[in-house]
Amino acid sequence: MTERVTVTGRRRGRPPARPRAVTTEIDDQTRLGEVYMRALLRAQLRLGLTVAGTVLGLLAAVPLVFAVAPGVSDVDVFGVPLPWVVLGGLVYPVLLTAAWLYVRAAERVERDFAAMVDRR
């Protein structure tokens, strides 16, 4: 009887046999894997909270300024009262810029994480 031999290729996308890639550490939920995961979570959360906090803080200051210094509301910009200029127009570019910066930074965090974990 001929001997049966199973022929297999290397598993797709896996690093060549090498002791414990970080992805395996994460899959096996070892201490080391958890350290990597927690670092990723912390980086993403810190980024999210920074952007959210900055924008919220900026916008939350607007009513406070109007309340504390009512004179500010009386300023006209080309005949339009300042509150209308700020709330009706200027706010939107600020929000967009914040969003754009966030998307760039979040993708960078993910790239760094992938580079660190997927080192072959």
Binding site: G13, R14, T23, I26, D27, Q29, E34, M37, L40, L41, Q44, L45, L47, G48, L49, V51, A52, V55, L56, L59, A60, P63, L64, F66, A67, P70, S73, D74, G79, P81, P83, W84, L87, G88, G89, V91, Y92, P93, L95, L96, A98, A99, W100, Y102, V103, A106, E107, E110, F113, A114, V117, D118
Partner: protein
């Protein structure tokens, strides 16, 4: 008038046709709920924009600005900033969770059916609360442009939504809504050009003069619903109809104070007379209107901050917004889509304030009839004469109709999804049939509510739905995504406390009307206390029930937070398993 009817008809027909175009490709459950995740970011962003810009944005914001001025600009700002909060805190992880609906997310994260059921009840509550003003606005629009009875609008909307949703579920809805975003933007943007030109030719009159508003010329006002008006000074009015319960035909001297006017009455006011207003409105004039925090509310700063919180953090908890996120191919696409949505919303939300401000100048009689929400519909026809004016009126009417249709479709899909998965599944085995029955149920309840409850401010009611979402799903999502120690008893306790208190506050405001003093402020803008309360309850109860921590939470965190291109074990949870067991 015929042009507007045609515009409504065309919007409805195109909606159904585009919906039918999507039908061919949608035969699986996944197609029904999330369009099989094969929607490109551009289509998706247009569709999200289309779905999000509801009657509140299209009609309500301008109406609020007309009546209450600068403080109301926070509504469009908040609607947009809500997307930024969604982007930076939940967008990518939520997409990566793989869930179709909020209850799916609750179940996957907390591994608990109790949490799932609680989330389901809240999705249906928020969905219905949001659908109610859409239907009322539809009634208002059709009555304003055609004079049809109030029940026609809700029924027409429901019929079109049902046809397009039943046809193809989420996939067809995606195309429909993308189309509707662009229709809505055009419908507001094109007339604005003509409105501003007219205002400019008019010598750019001051929008909010310090004096009380007066009729600039002899003005005929048609009252289409019963209204109590507050007359500021003795005035001689030509009346044709019922005034203070008496049939009149001819000049009547009306003393200052409240007077009832019946529907169908025509009032002719002389030039220079001071403008009466609906007594349920307290319109402002001069600085009180033009500048923030001068409205004479007892606690304007608290109300403003509470509104900001509700709008900023409510968006992420709206069921129809979330269901859209699941249609992105991966987490990175979800972020880029959200960025595009922010751009689309920013362009749109500059416009309603212009209508509100010019409406104050050119359609002040809306303050009298109390139908300030109609300003967007009325203004183009008032300022621009002839065929062009008719065309512009038809355009805004079509836009308004698109607003009701897209938001109602999105909400109906979400509510139907939850109803069919969690309520009907034991009775109806086939998922697509279940979804269709759910869609019917999702529409019937808010229609009955819309027909039986009094006409409320559109943007007000929508604001209340945001408050409920901010006090329930916002803490669930934020803690669920970023805090491993959240347990199901904690989540359920928080959802019940936050969702419950805010819903009660909302219902109290709707049923009993606005109250005075601090209780009034706390009830009419509950988010500032119900949202922190929900967070606190979730955290405290979770910390005291550590035994109920989900066993698979670490694996789920890998799924939520790691980029898809890494080959990792993300667990085998799949929302479609529910249909297979």
């Amino acid at each position: 008038m015929t042009a507007e009817v045609a515009a409504v008809a065309v919007t409805a027909v195109v909606t159904v046709l585009i919906g039918a175009f999507g039908v061919r490709a949608s035969r699986t459950t996944s197609d029904f709920y999330v369009a099989s995740r094969a929607v490109t970011p551009w289509w998706n962003a247009s569709a999200i924009g289309g779905e999000y810009l509801s009657a509140a944005s299209f009609l309500g914001v301008a109406g609020l600005v007309l009546a209450y001025g600068a403080d109301m600009l926070w509504f469009p700002v908040g609607y947009t900033a809500g997307y930024l909060m969604l982007l930076v805190l939940v967008a990518a992880p939520l997409r990566r969770s793989g869930a179709y609906t909020l209850p799916d997310f609750a179940e996957a994260r907390l591994e608990s059916t109790v949490a799932r059921r609680t989330a389901s009840v809240l999705v249906v509550t928020i969905g219905w609360l949001y659908l109610l003003p859409q239907f009322q606005a539809a009634g208002l629009t059709l009555r304003t442009v055609t004079g049809a009875p109030a029940w026609v609008g809700p029924l027409v909307i429901a019929a079109v939504v049902l046809v397009s949703v039943l046809g193809g579920g989420m996939r067809s809805i995606t195309f429909v809504q993308a189309f509707q975003y662009w229709l809505k933007l055009t419908a507001l943007a094109v007339p604005v050009v003509f409105l501003l030109l007219t205002w400019h030719d008019d010598g750019r009159p001051e929008v909010a003069p310090p004096e009380q508003p007066v009729f600039e010329e002899t003005t005929t006002v048609e009252v289409t619903t019963d209204v109590t008006i507050e007359v500021p000074e003795r005035v001689t009015v030509d009346v044709d109809g019922t005034l203070a319960g008496e049939e009149r035909d001819g000049p009547v001297v009306v003393p200052p104070g409240d007077v009832d006017v019946a529907a169908g009455t025509e009032l002719v006011f002389p030039e220079g007379a001071r403008l009466p207003h609906a007594s349920r409105l307290t319109p402002l004039s001069g600085e009180a209107w033009a500048l923030p925090l001068r409205s004479g509310d007892e606690h304007p700063l608290y109300s403003t901050y509470s509104l900001i919180l509700a709008l900023f953090f409510g968006t992420m908890g709206l069921p129809h917004v979330l269901v859209r996120f699941y249609t992105n191919p991966d987490g990175r696409a979800a972020r880029r889509t959200t960025l595009a949505v922010l751009g689309l919303l920013s362009i749109f939300y500059v416009l309603p304030a212009v209508y509100g401000a010019l409406g104050r100048l050119y359609t002040p009689e809306l303050l009298l009839t109390g139908r300030t929400d109609a300003v967007v519909l009325v203004l183009p026809g008032r300022l621009v004469e002839g065929a062009l004016g008719d065309a512009l009126s038809a355009l805004v009417t079509a836009g308004a109709f698109a607003a009701f249709l897209s938001t109602s479709s999105g909400l109906t899909v979400s509510v139907a999804g939850v109803l069919s998965q969690d309520l009907l599944r034991t009775r109806i085995r086939h998922p697509v049939t279940g979804f269709r029955v759910g869609a019917g149920l999702a529409l019937v309840v808010p229609i009955l509510l819309a027909l039986s409850s009094p006409l409320l401010g559109i943007a007000d009611v929508v604001g209340l739905a945001f408050a409920v979402a901010a006090s329930s799903f916002c803490p669930l999502l934020l803690l669920g995504i970023w805090w491993r120690r959240l347990t199901w008893p904690g989540a359920v306790a928080g959802l019940v406390t936050g969702g419950g208190t805010s819903t009660v506050a909302v219902l109290a405001t709707i049923v009993a009307g606005p109250q005075d003093g601090w209780p009034g402020a706390l009830l009419s803008q509950p988010a500032a206390w119900t949202m922190p309360l929900a967070f606190a309850v979730m955290v405290i109860v979770s910390l005291s029930t550590p035994r109920h921590r989900a066993p698979g939470v670490d694996r789920l965190m890998v799924r939520l937070h790691t980029p898809e291109n890494l080959e990792l074990n993300r667990g085998d949870w799949d929302p479609e398993d529910r249909w297979r067991d």
